[in-house]
């Protein structure tokens, strides 16, 4: 079953197409990594899927056109982990994660037992049990990242969009965060679409990669097919080697003799 179907999606910012006639589908339970150089349109495409920016073309989520959904219906279908989430320092972890229950509450309602159970379950799953009373301002970068993911999961949406979910983490925490997301994907049948910069890590977790450049999809397929030296060199303006490691691929930057990146 298709979780996300994009057809001819175009986003113009300041008259310029930042996302240009993108077409792609994401199957339910799939992990798709959105890769591409800076300014390729990854974040804007995610924002279009979350309906945070105006677009032309069509975006269909689990069979329903996103433009026909009410905001609250959209929020029950799709959660977003932004690149730089707002984490008010005075807010407690419990309060923050409970905000994820907003789609299930009317504008005048407050959280009930069911909502607190859902939040507690997510906190437990993310090794954050006992963190409920902590203020966001006292958390480390890794803890904060997990709390933001917890808020998105408390939303209980089948699709989760992540924008650079590991950008601020060290390599150990990157691995932990991605392992966790992958485990949750399997457990809860989540569909994940994540914009990622680290190609080697992305290749290890993603089922499929969508390479964007200049707002267009220039490659779409399993990591092995997308991470090809020629392709990466052309679109990233980088010189790299793609090295097979135990059946996976690693992307290794290559330094040329004179220290300049070489483009042949």
């Amino acid at each position: 079953m298709t979780a996300i179907a994009l057809h001819d999606v175009t986003v113009r910012l300041g008259g310029r197409p930042v996302v240009d006639r993108v077409g792609a589908t994401v199957a339910r339970g799939e992990w798709v990594a959105l890769i591409g150089p800076n300014g390729a349109g990854k974040t804007t495409l995610l924002r279009a899927i979350a309906r945070l920016v105006a677009f032309t073309g069509s975006i269909v989520l689990t069979g329903r056109p996103s433009s026909e959904l009410r905001r609250v219906e959209l929020a029950r279908l799709l959660a977003v982990v932004p690149q730089e989430p707002a984490t008010p320092p005075w807010m407690t972890v419990a309060e923050y994660v409970l905000l994820g229950r907003t789609p299930y509450l009317g504008p005048f309602a407050k959280e009930g037992r069911r909502d607190r159970e859902a939040a507690a379950a997510v906190l437990g799953r993310l090794d954050l049990a006992g963190y409920g009373e902590r203020r966001l301002g006292t958390l480390s970068g890794g803890e904060k990242q997990r709390v933001v993911v917890a808020r998105a999961l408390a939303q209980e949406a089948p699709i989760v969009l992540l924008d650079e979910p590991t950008a601020s983490l060290d390599i150990g925490h990157q691995q932990q965060a991605l392992e966790l997301l992958d485990a949750l994907r399997v457990e809860a049948g989540l569909t994940l679409v994540a914009a990622m910069h680290d190609l080697t890590l992305a290749a290890q977790y993603a089922d499929r990669m969508l390479l964007l450049d200049g707002g267009r999809v220039v490659a779409d397929g399993p990591p092995r097919d997308v991470l090809v030296e020629e392709t990466i060199a052309r679109h990233y303006d980088a010189s790299i080697d793609v090295v097979p490691v135990d059946g996976r691929v690693a992307v290794v930057p290559r330094r040329t003799r004179n220290g300049q990146s070489s483009r042949s």
Partner: protein, 353 residues
Amino acid sequence: MSATAAETSEVRARGLGPLGAFAAAAFLLVSVVVALLVGPIGLGVGDVLESAAARLRLPGAVSPLTPTEEAILWEIRVPRVALAAIVGGMLALAGATYQGVFRNPLADPYLLGVAAGAGLGATLAIAYLPDGLRGQRALPVAAFLGGAVAVFLTYAVGRSARRERDAATFVLAGVTVAAFFTALQTFVQQQNSDTLQQVYSWILGNIPSTGWPDVWLVLPYVAVAAVVILALRRVVDVLNLGEDEAATLGVNVGRVRLALVVAATLGTAAVVAVTGLIGFVGIIVPHALRLLTGVGYRALLPLSFVCGAGFLVLADVVARTALAPAEIPLGVVTAFFGAPFFAIVLRSTRVAP
């Protein structure tokens, strides 16, 4: 995924706990009692209570006060205290609301041009209306209209912005409209220097001792505004994450923000129309509470309402007694005592607002 009962009970948002609610209510109560007892004619606590009991027709209660004292208590002091409480509560609530909605710690009821518009309305009324109309009734109406027009303009200017309409756009529009209205107001004032004194005293702000009519005038607006804002208080916490994140959590940001801003502005315009410009309440009260308690908006909004009421009741006591029989403008008192108090709170805390 499932959680034990113990884990679940630990996961809750800090609402208005019994301790906070009690402390805030006690503060307001003490303020009101002090304000009722203090004045040119001293009234005893017991006498006031017995008089209240008699008014409530409790069996066996007879007021020990003379008819003059009765009149002073029920026709002057009680309505003045009630008005101060309503005005203070509204200004503090509106301040906290603007701060939450616009994610701007410096936002207060005077943002969005409310004060400038009300000031222009009042100045026009004082300068140009014939003497017979200038009195008690016309001035509040003119101020209210001016405030409402200013906010409407702010909203129109903000909406006309071609770029994405975020909170900052409306703040900038408010500053623009306020600057324009202030210029107009100064111009009118200069052209009519004979009424300068009257305009000036209105701008400084005071709680009038005009009895119940002013209370009944502002109460409906403040009641509606407070009900709307307090009902939406959880959503203000969501808005504090920013527009995009609030939207992805299913909040219709534009509609909720409009409801909150309209409510806060209507309430503010109504009280400003009656009392003139009383500054600082909308900034000092919410910030002091935030620093003292560290709670989110869902608790901060009701706390601001109650403590703002107590704060202005006390400030009004100072205003009418410090230099008795002369009165100090209330706006001067709120700034004179509020600012140092806020500095102390700021200094003695390490929790960032």
